[in-house]
């Protein structure tokens, strides 16, 4: 059997709404993936370092504070600088207005899941789009 997919679920920014992050963490775990959850208030740098240390295949960023345009591209850029972006699938979820999604995708976020997305959709997306 292949080795399980490793996922970092991370909460960038200052908001404390982690229901979505925790639900997705459990759903991915129930789907057979290995999940690391960072807890709240992670800086881009902390997230990138944890992703490298944990050798993950996926970074799933949950944000509801409205600071996504500022924080998410920073995380992608740092992953690129560290030379790991080519191996790690970067996703985002949370209250993110439709208008902001094209910009985030251009910045290197591979998919954005907004409220109401079934966890199965995210699980399938991960399985079909792994980079390594």
């Amino acid at each position: 059997m292949d080795k399980p997919i490793r996922v970092l679920v991370a909460k960038p920014g200052l908001d404390g709404h982690d229901r979505g992050a925790k639900v997705i963490a459990r759903a991915l775990r129930d789907a057979g993936m290995e999940v690391v959850y960072t807890g709240l208030r992670q800086t881009p740098e902390q997230i990138v370092q944890t992703a490298i240390q944990e050798d993950v295949d996926v970074v799933a960023l949950s944000i509801l504070s409205g600071a996504h345009n500022h924080l998410l591209p920073k995380i992608v850029n740092r992953l690129k600088e560290e030379g790991v972006y080519d191996e790690v699938l970067v996703l985002a979820g949370g209250v993110i207005p439709d208008d902001d999604i094209p910009g985030l995708k251009e910045a290197g976020i591979e998919a954005v899941f907004t409220p109401g997305t079934p966890t199965g959709v995210t699980i399938n997306f991960i399985k079909e789009n792994l980079k390594k």
């Binding site: 200052l14 908001d15 404390g16 925790k22 639900v23 775990r29 500022h70 199965g120």
Partner: protein, 559 residues
């Protein structure tokens, strides 16, 4: 409630009905589901009859509004005298922008203010702090110093309005700023009416904007209790909140259980700090969620009221009736709003409004239809406020007190929720009280289990959310959402710079030094915070001093 003979007749008739009508009918008309359940998983019966209220004693268990155990309400005449306070939570961008929104809401007939602060403010960072980048003014208004607070309430007479502030870890600082602004308006502290949320335990459980460790946070809270009981006697010093516990995915019974368990912890802390229970308990207030299940929610509010009254009287020996009255603010459930077909949210909010009013709330915030997408626009906030006004003036439900009392279902459920909550409270007592139960991750884990079950029910379509997992349509992206001015962060940074240039630096440093000393010892910190605020020390500077002395909370991560 019936006499024995009558009750026997009811039971016999029920059996007959079951046999003759239900059992026969079920083969032809099977029910939609094998089992009907509430959010807590408890079973819902097909029919409720007087049989379900066996043993209930009207005078003892329900009594009269305004009297112990307050099941039917905290005031004798409720909304026949005065409607609940219609209080829309608002705040975004700068103090200037938010001040305009408040004036608009007051003109539209809103009767109280409710301030939303941005995340850096809630976590005690100034807008120019590194961690504030990208967050300034996003989920609420940015307040860095007294300068911002003066602008926020400019032209709003603080002796006339009551103001609720959703602020927790730095609650003492924002309350101090409010007192200082009032003083400048010529309004003394004893005239001020309002509420600070000041509920740190639910921040650890569910909301996440904590700063200091548990013990030091509890000390700041009891400092506020002690200070306000003398200086700001009309102020509600805490709003013990189930709202966020429910939003995090708890059931209705868990919402009551964990909120009252937190309440018990605050009362115990204050008593331990040497306060008499009746000196602070009348100023405790609560904050609940109003969810979709109308009758369960009404029962929840009634159960919470009765249980708190018993706890205060029996466990803490309160003598003042006001100490036993659970007064609460309600907000409709943000997590029930869908990003899909957002107009449907108006209907959800209307049902939730009814639940809050039938449950006897003291004040209410109704969510706007676009809040699953962004902060609400002025138009959608108006519809939300109108929803309350329609329920108040047109629906008729406010014309008699506690109109659902006596419903077999509602009374049975009220009792069941009370019992379930009490069972949790006993469990939490065994773990050493709410702070210990939080540290051990018990409360978080219980909520997480409920929330994950809910998600699974949605995905298996055992639970239908209209427009989301059924009755979907192809939708165009919603237009006209509120957009924030991207220059907010810059504007705030400039204001901080100017404030710092114009203040007496020595006075600031002297006051911060005095605060550091008070915080290191046992003195009440509140007067020192007030003096620092008046000298235009920033929120970040004041919280910085407290961070140095107290340290910071380390979250226990539970999934």
């Amino acid at each position: 409630m019936l006499e024995k003979d009558k009750l026997k007749e009811v039971k016999e008739e029920k059996k007959r009905w079951q046999k003759e009508k239900v059992d026969k009918g079920l083969s032809k008309f099977p029910e939609r589901k094998e089992e009907f359940t509430r959010t807590s998983g408890a079973n819902i019966e097909r029919l409720y009859t007087p049989d379900d209220l066996e043993g209930m004693d009207y005078n003892k268990d329900l009594g009269y509004p305004g009297e112990y155990p307050y099941t039917r309400g905290v005031q004798p005449t409720m909304y026949r005298s005065r409607f609940w306070t219609m209080r829309q939570y608002a705040g975004f961008a700068t103090a200037e922008e938010s001040n305009k929104r408040y004036k608009y809401l007051l003109e539209q007939g809103q009767t109280g203010l409710s301030v939303a602060f941005d995340l850096p403010t809630q976590i005690g960072y100034d807008s120019d702090h590194e961690l504030a980048q990208g967050e300034v003014g996003k989920v609420g208004v940015a307040i860095d110093s007294l300068t911002d607070m003066e602008i926020l309430f400019d032209g709003i007479p603080l002796d006339k309005v009551s103001t609720s502030m959703t602020i927790n870890a730095p609650a003492a600082v924002l309350l101090a700023m409010y007192i200082a602004v009032a003083e400048k308006q010529g309004v003394s502290a004893d005239q001020l009416r309002g509420t600070i949320q000041n509920d740190i335990l639910k921040e650890y459980i569910a909301r996440g904007t904590y700063i200091f460790p548990t013990e030091e946070s509890m000390r700041l809270i009891t400092d506020i209790f002690a200070y306000c009981s003398k200086e700001v006697p009309q102020w509600n010093t805490i709003s013990i909140s189930g709202y966020h516990i429910r939003e995090a995915g708890s059931s209705a019974s868990q919402e009551v259980a964990f909120t009252l368990a937190d309440g018990i912890a605050y009362v115990e802390a204050a008593i331990k700090a040497g306060l008499d229970v009746d000196s602070f308990a009348p100023r405790l207030s609560f904050f609940f969620n109003s969810h979709n299940d109308l009758l369960e929610e009404v029962s929840k509010f009634r159960a919470a009221r009765r249980l708190w009254a018993k706890i205060m009287k029996e466990r803490f020996g309160a003598k003042n009736p006001k100490s036993m009255q659970l007064k609460f603010h309600t907000q409709t459930a943000g997590s029930t709003l869908t990003a899909q077909q957002p107009d449907n949210n108006i209907v959800r909010v209307a049902i939730q409004t009814l639940a809050a009013v039938l449950g006897g709330t003291q004040s209410l915030h109704t969510n706007s239809k676009d809040e699953a997408l962004a902060l609400p626009t002025e138009d959608s906030v108006r519809v939300a406020l109108r929803t309350q006004q329609i329920v108040a003036h047109e629906s008729g439900v406010a014309d008699t007190v506690d109109p659902l009392a006596g419903s077999y279902y509602v009374e049975k459920m009220t009792k069941e929720i009370e019992d379930a909550a009490m069972e949790y409270i006993e469990q939490i007592d065994e773990l050493g009280g709410a702070p210990a139960a939080i540290e051990q991750g018990f409360i978080q884990k219980e909520i997480m289990d409920s929330s994950y079950n809910y998600q699974k029910e949605l995905e298996k379509e055992e639970r239908i959310v209209v427009g989301m997992n059924k009755f979907q349509v192809k939708e165009k992206p919603v237009e006209g959402l509120l957009k924030l001015d991207p220059r907010v962060e810059e504007l705030q940074r400039d204001k901080i710079k100017k404030t710092k240039e114009n203040r007496d630096e020595k006075m600031v440093q002297d006051n911060l030094k005095a605060l550091r000393q008070a915080a290191s010892g046992n003195e009440n910190t509140m007067p020192y915070i007030l003096e620092s605020v008046k000298a235009y020390a920033t929120l970040g500077e004041i919280c910085g001093v407290l961070r140095e002395v107290f340290g910071e909370y380390q979250q226990s991560v539970v999934i």
